[in-house]
């Protein structure tokens, strides 16, 4: 199971910090989370992703069960 963590507006849309999802690619994870949390559909297009702490822009990237995928809305620090 891949661990998916939600932050800020993504967390507000899912009302959860984290879920475990069975999926083989980032794309599959995103599709399954939208299915589970329909409000996320409006948020995801603006998000970037961290896979095990490293920026991941290729959504076809293959996942292993112990992977950690973070869903990051646009930053607004500083």
């Amino acid at each position: 199971m891949v661990t998916v963590r939600f932050f800020a507006a993504a967390k507000a849309a899912t009302k959860t910090n984290e879920v475990k999802i069975s999926a083989n690619t980032v794309e599959q994870v995103l599709a399954l989370t939208i299915e589970k949390f329909p409000d996320l559909a409006a948020v995801l297009p603006k998000c970037s992703y961290l896979l095990n702490g490293i920026a991941c822009s290729d959504l076809s990237t293959k996942l292993s069960p112990e992977d950690l995928l973070d869903i990051l809305p646009p930053f607004a620090g500083g």
């Binding site: 932050f7 800020a8 507006a9 603006k46 961290l50 702490g53 809305p73 607004a76 620090g77 500083g78």
Partner: protein
């Protein structure tokens, strides 16, 4: 040795004097300090309260950004902090202090650290407006 003497993501109040003291150096002719304070309005709407949320890697990224910029300038020390959680209006959310022998380096490095942190740090800002609406900044 690292030029970054402190890089902190904290829910505590940020005391600028403490950070200025951290970068002070008897050889430093110039200290430039940037303080980003919580405003009482945003784009014309009165803000009631404001909360920052950080990714667990935020502190490590704060340090990395400061070190990368520091290496480009003739400066002595940098100390910086980003506050998270609920921040009362008027208090400091983000502070950067830079010391250098010459003021041009201190000004340029401080401004570039502020600019880069704003781009790179995984921190989010949630505003509650006086009219009851709320907003994730940079999102809507």
């Amino acid at each position: 040795m690292s030029k970054v003497s402190q890089a902190l993501v904290t829910s505590d109040r940020i005391d600028s004097a403490k950070y200025q003291a951290l970068v002070a150096d008897a050889g430093a002719g110039a200290i430039v300090t940037f303080s980003g304070d919580v405003r009482n309005h945003d784009q014309g709407k009165p803000v009631t309260s404001l909360e920052y949320e950080a990714h667990p890697d935020a502190q490590q990224i704060l340090r990395k950004v400061a070190e990368e910029v520091a290496d480009q300038y003739e400066i002595f020390q940098v100390a910086l902090a980003h506050r998270i959680g609920l921040i009362p209006l008027g208090e400091t959310a983000f502070l950067v202090c830079v010391s250098a022998a010459h003021r041009q380096d201190a000004f340029a490095a401080c401004q570039q650290i502020v600019d880069e942190v704003k781009i790179q740090i995984p921190i989010w800002k949630h505003q509650i407006f006086a009219d009851g609406t709320d907003q994730w900044v940079n999102f809507a």
